[in-house]
Symmetry: C2
Subunit: 256 residues, 2 copies
């Protein structure tokens, strides 16, 4: 079913012109984004933080299911505990904005319904788009009670179908859904970090934190997984530990 | 150990000035990036593709272990098979550049050694940086034969240590390493897609593909997992299926 829906483009009259963009300006932002581990005491205006968060929400998201959340921690008591939970890293304790980026594995159910509401209310929505959210999305992302449907898909349905035809291979089970949600959330995190840089600020993405403690401090929902914690601010002297190190390009870019 | 290494910033004399950047130009790029599902026949010059791939490699990467790879598929025979493996999606079959973005879960071992070589050759490398790559990295990312060390960390070492002090909670086991590698790779994918937009081109990130067939077509290494496949080109009429749909901001941005 998925290939029938995906391979036949709907007839759409919609068009968006591509505006002129500036690669040199973009390159400057990407090249000057470094992981800054000590921030100065200069504040970031609230509206700048919000503008950057808005940029995060414009990243592409798998099936438009928007499985991300961004918790901007501002409460002094929580912040103090968060600094400790981030293993005392100065990138957290000196940050002028601390944002916990969450990957959610269950919100897609609600968002699927929201998508259907929007699509049903839009005149001219192609049938294939409705079918995608009505039938395909629950089949692809649903894992069933105790993950049993996920197991069935992983070990029976998909391998058997896959003998005869091309089939998508996942996400299967809880770990598959986590991988899926983290991937989409990371796309948004990159937007967020570049947005701060574009606005004249710096960031540090942290994976070194105690997730058990972070869950308690913020009372996270059970299906939320911390993708990364991003500290932001202005770079302080000594905040970048060394010139950027990247190994040779041909280790990573292959022409096939 | 991790908190001691992370919480004590090394004394560094290195400094990078932050250049002036342009938020308006950045916003234009992010806002005009849409998933374009049909591309025109206009080619993308090779040097533009390479410049965009270079931008991908400047994303932040967990512990600088650069666990990503980008396979630009150019061989006609392989391309034809890839179009089918992408479920016949026009975003693949009409793409002027098709890039398979891989998350690698084992290359960190080699890259850790490369990091140590670079650090040892740099005068003034702080001891903590060497210790990080000598001791902490193998402890955090190593999962041992049959994943046994991962199990030990997940069910014994970390929970026990965690009673007494803050500890990082993972990545544990193969699924943890996959989640970790996909997350870092996705950061680079977002750079890549924005870079194409900045250069005047469009992209579509695809998760709808048959990974088993992709593995065969490209003869992927066993530790490589396809994070996403990105098609790129110029937007064709009808290539954007609808105006962008995002649910209300307060579902995703929370102030705590």
């Amino acid at each position: 079913m998925s290939d029938q829906i995906l391979s036949n483009p709907p007839k759409v009259s919609y068009h968006e012109d591509a505006p002129a963009t500036n690669f040199v300006e973009f390159k400057k932002i990407v090249e000057s984004r470094r992981s800054v581990r000590i921030f100065s005491s200069e504040k970031i205006p609230d509206d700048v933080v919000m503008s950057c968060l808005d940029m995060a929400l414009l990243a592409p998201t798998s099936s438009n299911l928007q499985c991300w959340e961004f918790w901007w921690v501002r409460d002094e008591g929580k912040l103090k505990k968060m600094h400790e939970a981030c293993l005392g890293q100065p990138a957290a304790s000196t940050a002028q904005a601390l944002i916990v980026c969450l990957a959610r594995t269950q919100t897609w159910k609600k968002h699927r319904e929201q998508m259907l509401e929007v699509l049903r209310a839009s005149p001219g929505t192609p049938k294939s788009a409705l079918m995608y959210y009505e039938k395909l999305v629950p089949f692809v992302y649903g894992q069933g009670p105790l993950g049993l449907f996920g197991l069935l898909k992983k070990f029976l349905i998909t391998p058997i179908l896959g003998v005869f035809r091309v089939v998508p291979r996942g996400p299967f089970g809880e770990s598959g859904m986590l991988q899926w949600a983290h991937k989409t959330t990371a796309l948004a995190c990159e937007n967020l970090m570049l947005a701060f840089r574009a606005a004249g600020y710096d960031t540090c993405p942290m994976e070194g934190f105690d997730e058990v403690r972070v869950r308690k401090i913020l009372d996270l929902p059970s299906d939320a997984s911390v993708c990364m914690i991003i500290g932001a601010g202005k770079r302080a002297p000594g905040g970048i530990y060394s010139p950027r190190i990247r190994f040779p390009r041909d280790q990573f870019i292959k022409i096939k």
